[in-house]
Symmetry: none
Subunit: 214 residues, 2 copies
């Protein structure tokens, strides 16, 4: 059962969302709030899986409320509700820890699906927001690790898994190949990246940005 709270200053919106979510067997609305302050208190009291939060609210707006909720209760994923798909809210909301956006006139089916996916930890964005975000990805800070560019796709994949701290046998199981094959890939990684053992391989992976901490 996924537990949800809804925050909006418009009673009609509150009513609508509660009705839709309450009609779904695996979703449950455990509370509603009419402003940001109420929301923060409500989340602290009910510890919901998902919070639907309007951007525009009295006393404490949706962005600030999202930041407080995320800071105090990381287990609660926030979906920001907007009337229009305004880009300027998007970045700030994401920085505040929001997991997704929905328009207030979203079809019932999509609302339900979105809540479920966000509860599972997914990030849910509209198409325009996506492009906006991708611009930042290109600026990802990576250190030059000599040899990473000469890795084959499979080797890169193995590196990622090894960098998670898995043993050869575990890597083999995860990739569905033999342990001997993993050893071959690892040896090749050590040679190409000029490292000595898998611990140094983990270091190289973090330096190269193949994995990101956090």
């Amino acid at each position: 059962m996924t537990r949800v709270v809804v925050a909006d200053d418009q009673p009609v919106v509150l009513e609508g969302f509660t009705t839709i979510l309450g009609a779904t067997s695996d979703l449950e609305v455990v509370g509603t709030a009419r402003d940001g302050v109420e929301l923060v208190t409500l989340v602290a009291a009910t510890r919901p899986d998902v919070a639907l939060v309007d951007v525009r609210m009295p006393r404490l707006d949706g962005i600030a409320a999202t930041a407080r909720v995320r800071a105090a209760h990381p287990g609660t994923h926030v979906i920001v509700l907007t009337t229009f798909d305004l880009d300027e809210y998007v970045t700030r909301a994401l920085e505040a820890g929001a997991s997704g956006f929905l328009l207030k006139d979203v079809p019932a089916a999509r609302l339900v699906e979105g809540v479920r996916l966000v509860a599972a930890g997914a990030l849910l964005l509209g198409p325009r927001v996506a492009r906006h975000l991708l611009a930042d990805v290109d600026a990802a800070p990576r250190r030059e690790v000599p040899g990473v560019d000469r890795l084959t796709p499979r080797e890169r994949e193995v590196l990622t898994v090894v960098a998670g701290g898995l043993s050869n046998a575990e890597v083999a199981a995860k990739l569905g190949i033999g342990e001997q094959t993993v050893k071959t890939h690892v040896s090749e990684l050590l040679r190409k990246l000029a490292r000595r053992d898998r611990a140094q391989l983990v270091v190289a992976a973090y330096e190269a940005g193949v994995v990101v901490p956090g």
Copy 2:
């Protein structure tokens, strides 16, 4: 009715996804492909709403196939299928125009929900991918590593050096102590941080922010 095609070189995957999607009333699998070239032809012929595409395929890989599909038919939204939700394919796939990622062992319900949302134009990312993309936006979210606060000063020091990829003998030389002593500290680190080997210790160090890449 949402029309879907599936592309994967593994018949079992093809079969599984087709069965799941076919059992849903508003989804319809209108074709399958075993490699990228087949996929491009299939999309041109059927104009589906969503294409589920494996990253690893013969002849034309999933990334390249995605780029061609998106260029020729922007109305078709692509979901990339991966074994992991965080690997070197993610960024390239998004640049190629993919709308989302799903693990091959995704639960049926989430698969169906994901397909519907992507068909509607949403961007769908897993939790780890989301963090990856938000790495530059989000302000360095240091993960809580249980036990790191119970380390003695010397242990913390050893951890930092070990996280540099040094062997026990090298750590000993660097700290001016015996190798046996280093082993004792390392064993203690493994125990307190609940890790198995020094590779996992390196991971823990990066997660805890004891060392910082870049």
